[in-house]
């Protein structure tokens, strides 16, 4: 049974200039112990998708199930039982912690809300701090006294407090320096090995996602356009957008870069989510688009085992 199951999820925001369909019919599963990467650029809806799964934004249509239980419309009481299963880590490590609360209090908060007794809370916080590699005295200090990487560890400790099965990581390392990024990525991998958690790793940084994820989903304007194992996506991308994304990622290899320089980068800008293109959302920027792409929206279809793509022309 999949740990997380999402079916035809839609999230819409009414704005002054119309309705923005941030997530537009997304379906996927996450199995226990799996790391699924969700990549896309700004405005593709990946962060909104993560928050919708956490029931932090209202769901317009579709359903979300955790461990077989449909949580789409659960009230607050019922959600209390489900909350421990799915937790979240945020990008902005400073904004993710209450500046006026000590680190100990922030990490203990999920336990307090769940009604744990005090002495068990103290013990658990101490364990969590050592699991993420922070010193014991961090308990009485405030977030602004720590570096970005350390604050991210605090956020991870808080997310792990109730022993979740799935952790949604929303751009967890994007705001960190390169060397610190490696520390946090390795920490997440270690925790996965030790605790068996699954991750939904949301990021715009393809290199990091390729490194951590078992499977990858690519999003564009609120829809998933391709899925596959990390290796399939990297070695043999099918969707033109995925190919363009991969071509645009600068790699630390000057010789390879020079070879790539011959290929012009993807032109145009992301269309406004208020007025998405007809048919395939990518056709306005696609180098191989044909008439059918303008009229008919392609559906995400499986082309090979574990690989799906939403494109009329992809192999």
């Amino acid at each position: 049974m999949p740990l997380l199951s999402v079916r035809d999820l839609e999230v819409a925001f009414p704005t002054r200039r119309g309705v923005v369909h941030a997530v537009n019919g997304v379906s996927f599963d996450i199995a226990p112990g799996e790391t699924v990467g969700l990549v896309g650029e700004s405005g593709c809806g990946k962060s909104t998708l993560g928050r919708a799964i956490m029931r932090l934004v209202p769901i317009a249509a579709g359903e979300v199930s955790v461990a077989g239980r449909d949580i789409t419309h659960l009230g607050r009481r019922a959600m209390r039982a489900v909350r421990p299963l799915v937790q979240m880590i945020f990008q902005d490590s400073l904004g993710a912690l209450n500046p006026r609360a000590t680190v100990g209090r922030s990490i203990a908060q999920p336990l307090v809300v769940a009604g744990w007794p005090r002495d068990r809370i103290h013990a658990r916080v101490a364990t969590l701090l050592s699991e993420v590699g922070l010193p014991r005295d961090a308990v009485d200090r405030f977030p602004h006294e720590f570096s970005g990487g350390q604050r991210q560890r605090i956020g991870i400790a808080r997310a792990l407090a109730l022993e979740p099965k799935l952790v949604i990581c929303d751009e967890p390392v994007s705001a960190l320096d390169v060397s610190v990024r490696a520390q946090v990525v390795n920490l997440l991998a270690d925790l996965k090995a030790a605790l068996g958690v699954s991750y939904l790793f949301i990021s715009h940084d393809l290199s990091v996602v390729e490194h951590v994820a078992d499977r990858v989903m690519v999003m564009y304007l609120g829809r998933i356009v391709e899925t596959g194992t990390a290796e399939m996506i990297w070695r043999a991308p099918r969707h033109p957008y995925t190919k363009a994304l991969l071509a645009a990622v600068p790699s630390p290899d000057p010789a390879a870069q020079r070879k790539r320089a011959a290929v012009p980068p993807l032109q145009g800008e992301l269309p406004s989510p208020l007025a998405p293109p007809s048919g395939c959302p990518f056709h306005t920027r696609c180098s191989i688009a044909v008439e059918r792409c303008r009229r008919e929206r392609p559906v995400l279809e499986e082309r090979a085992r574990g690989a799906s793509v939403a494109c009329h022309l992809a192999a």
Partner: protein, 337 residues
């Protein structure tokens, strides 16, 4: 040929309540016309302060240039009075920043901002300036420049704002462009467009570019030479090919190893650099990197390594780097020219 930009032993200090901190410690580098030098380092290494210093835009207090020279075509910018320096800015040396929307005046249309820059630094009249502005908008590949002319910055995407910034920066045909993390805040496909644009413009105009970034991938794409900074000091400099093929300084090696590369074996852990950058007020005696260095020896803790030329065009400040002369010779052969 004399370099367009010649920075010699630049020293910047931060005057804070806790004391005077050496934010940039005798950093030197040159950038020739038509060349791109990348300045790489992580937060707190002083690269942004260096960039601001070149434009004489350091926030004072707390930062101030306390030593060194910045020679633009032979003229030392550090010694100039503010009035003369204002004439230099944008006319001979200009800068683009990380946050494009924040760098533009939100209540003035982009066209007008561009025209203002042109009028301020050239002899062109209003009509001619407008024509030049439209020309520039076209040069930076903004589609339909006439209709975009009257738009306000908040209506434009991040990528377009950055293009407008670039247009403003090259408006007067200046010699040196300083780019401070210009694509960090942009999506990867937009980043690719902007980087391609910068390279094309550099080829056409022949300006020298100082490109500041923390992203080694971007470095590989745009730069011919690289200087690596750590805790306010330059620790390595080389051509791009040489640096990526055979990094000498343990910090550079650590950075490269910590960067995930496409196609790399996934099961492998990313190599971490343990610890953190030391606070400026508490720099270790000896090599600033010693506490985090995997090959630090006795000498490294006691003595600060000076920049030495390990091979022609390759500088490194490390005692351990001296121990690999053979590798360098063979790598130089591999890399060729």
């Amino acid at each position: 040929m004399a370099p367009a930009l010649d920075v010699r032993a630049l020293q910047i200090s931060l005057f804070t309540r806790v004391g005077v901190l050496p934010a940039v410690d005798r950093v030197s580098f040159t950038v020739g016309a038509g060349e791109t030098l990348a300045l790489v380092g992580e937060s707190g290494c002083g690269k942004s302060l260096t960039a601001l210093a070149l434009m004489r835009l350091l926030p004072d207090p707390p930062a101030r240039i306390v030593g060194g020279e910045v020679r633009l075509d032979g003229e030392d910018l550090v010694r100039l009075d503010e009035r003369t320096m204002q004439g230099m800015r944008t006319k001979r040396i200009s800068m683009i920043f990380q946050d494009p929307a924040g760098s533009l005046n939100p209540v003035v249309s982009v066209g007008r901002q561009l025209v203002e820059v042109i009028e301020a630094h050239t002899d062109l009249g209003r009509r001619a300036a407008i024509d030049r502005a439209l020309e520039l908008l076209d040069l930076v590949r903004i589609a339909d420049p006439r209709s975009r002319f009257g738009e306000f910055p908040h209506r434009l995407s991040g990528g377009m704002c950055q293009r407008v910034m670039i247009a403003m920066a090259i408006a007067c045909g200046q010699r040196v462009l300083i780019a401070d993390e210009p694509t960090t805040a942009l999506d990867v496909t937009v980043q690719a467009q902007v980087l391609a644009l910068l390279q094309r413009l550099q080829g056409e105009i022949g300006m020298a570019m100082l490109f500041i970034t923390h992203d080694l991938g971007v470095v590989a794409q745009v730069a011919q030479r690289v200087a690596v900074m750590y805790a306010g000091r330059k620790v390595e400099e080389a051509t791009v090919d040489a640096l990526f093929a055979a990094p000498l300084h343990p910090y550079t090696r650590g950075l490269l190893a910590a960067t995930p590369k496409a196609g790399e074996d996934r099961a492998a852990r990313l190599t971490e650099i343990p610890g953190m950058v030391p606070p400026l007020g508490n720099l270790p005696t000896g090599c600033a990197f010693a506490p985090r260095c995997p090959v630090a020896g006795q000498r490294c803790w006691a003595e600060r390594p000076a920049l030495t030329e390990a091979a022609p065009g390759r500088l490194v400040a490390c005692f351990a780097a001296d121990a690999v002369p053979d590798r360098i010779a063979s790598d130089a052969a591999v890399v060729g020219s």
